[in-house]
């Protein structure tokens, strides 16, 4: 009986560790998420600018876009890093929040 109980506890522990590891790998860290969602952005970065940079990276000439001041270099770097780090969704949430605040 004790062996069974121990086995169940070990299995639960192993599952929890595995799930925790997977979650940590696939999601942005909590600190990072909080930073993107809540921190004050630099003057040359806007959340919608980061999304626009992502769109232009997928369909246009990003250097020309920076040269014509449609997006900033910082926004392009953030967009590139967000795509690689899977944090673009956080930038969308930040942009939604900023748009809502601006429209009030």
């Amino acid at each position: 009986m004790r062996k069974i109980l121990t086995g169940v506890l070990v299995a639960i522990g192993a599952t929890a560790i595995a799930l925790g590891t997977l979650a940590a790998c696939s999601l942005p860290t909590g600190v990072q998420s909080a930073n993107i969602l809540t921190d004050k952005l630099p003057d040359n970065v806007t959340a919608d600018g980061v999304l626009l940079a992502a769109v232009i990276l997928s369909s246009g000439d990003i250097q020309a876009a920076v040269e014509k001041k449609i997006v900033s270099s910082a926004e392009v770097n953030q967009a590139r890093d967000a795509i690689l780090a899977n944090t673009l969704e956080l930038w969308r949430q930040r942009a939604e929040k900023d748009v809502a605040v601006a429209s009030q």
Partner: protein, 240 residues
């Protein structure tokens, strides 16, 4: 007198027809529709499906300006325009977007403009840890990246990217070819084997050929939908 009258009529027609065409609501609406479809399709391709109408409208307005400024690839705009009547088919452009994203990111990474960013942005420590390791790689891969941008020079960007859109693997091949043909062959081995920076995180310490096999595993780590998940790994492969 008659001659002057005809000249005046000709000038008036010559001016009024183009002006009325540009100002025509249908033309303006089409431009907006292309921008809106482009915003939706590219962001969906990047895994963003829940864009609010307000944010979509804002991005559409900004992208319309970008289209007017000639920043958007005309071939992609034309493809999007041709699919406007059947928006469901826009998802078929994911290969086009991914190939373009790959090429633009490579060019951007090698450009001086990307290094002029001095902002401290949210999530800087965690996000930039990736880009810093990337910059280490780009230091070694600069010859490859530069030769690539040379081949794909700004004048040829549209043609090359669109031409290779159908086979995203082609662009990867081109990159690796240009890297190996130049001084970069030695650097490739260094970045592949030493595993510094981002390579270290991937655990790709094997030879370069294994990286393509490892891509599928890396894709899972990003937890993104198919087309998006393939991009970062392919990008890494192209810089290897």
């Amino acid at each position: 007198m008659t001659r002057k009258m005809w000249i005046a009529i000709g000038l008036a027609l010559g001016l009024s027809v183009p002006v009325s065409f540009v100002a025509h609501p249908a033309t303006a609406a089409t431009s907006d529709a292309i921008a809106q479809a482009l915003v939706t399709a590219t962001l969906q391709n990047l895994g963003l499906n829940d864009i609010s109408p307000e944010l979509s409208q804002q991005l559409t307005g900004q992208l319309t300006d970008a289209i007017d400024a000639g920043v958007i690839d005309p071939a992609i705009s034309a493809q999007v325009a041709s699919l406007l009547e059947n928006p469901a088919l826009l998802s078929g452009l994911s290969d086009v977007f991914n190939a373009h994203l790959e090429g633009e990111t490579s060019v951007w990474r090698a450009s001086d403009l990307s290094k002029s960013d001095s902002s401290g942005t949210p999530g800087e420590s965690s996000i930039d840890s990736g880009s810093n390791s990337g910059s280490e790689d780009s230091g070694e891969d600069n010859s490859g990246a530069n030769s690539n941008s040379g081949e794909d020079g700004s004048g040829d960007d549209w043609g090359d990217n669109v031409g290779e859109d159908g086979g995203s693997g082609d662009s990867t091949d081109d990159d690796s070819d240009s890297g190996s043909s130049g001084d970069n062959s030695g650097d490739d081995n260094e970045s592949g084997n030493s595993g510094d920076g981002r390579d270290e995180n991937e655990g790709d310490e094997g030879d370069d050929s294994d990286e393509y096999e490892d891509d599928s595993l890396d894709d899972d780590a990003y937890g993104l939908p198919g087309p998006v998940a393939t991009f970062p790994s392919r990008l890494r492969a192209s810089h290897a």
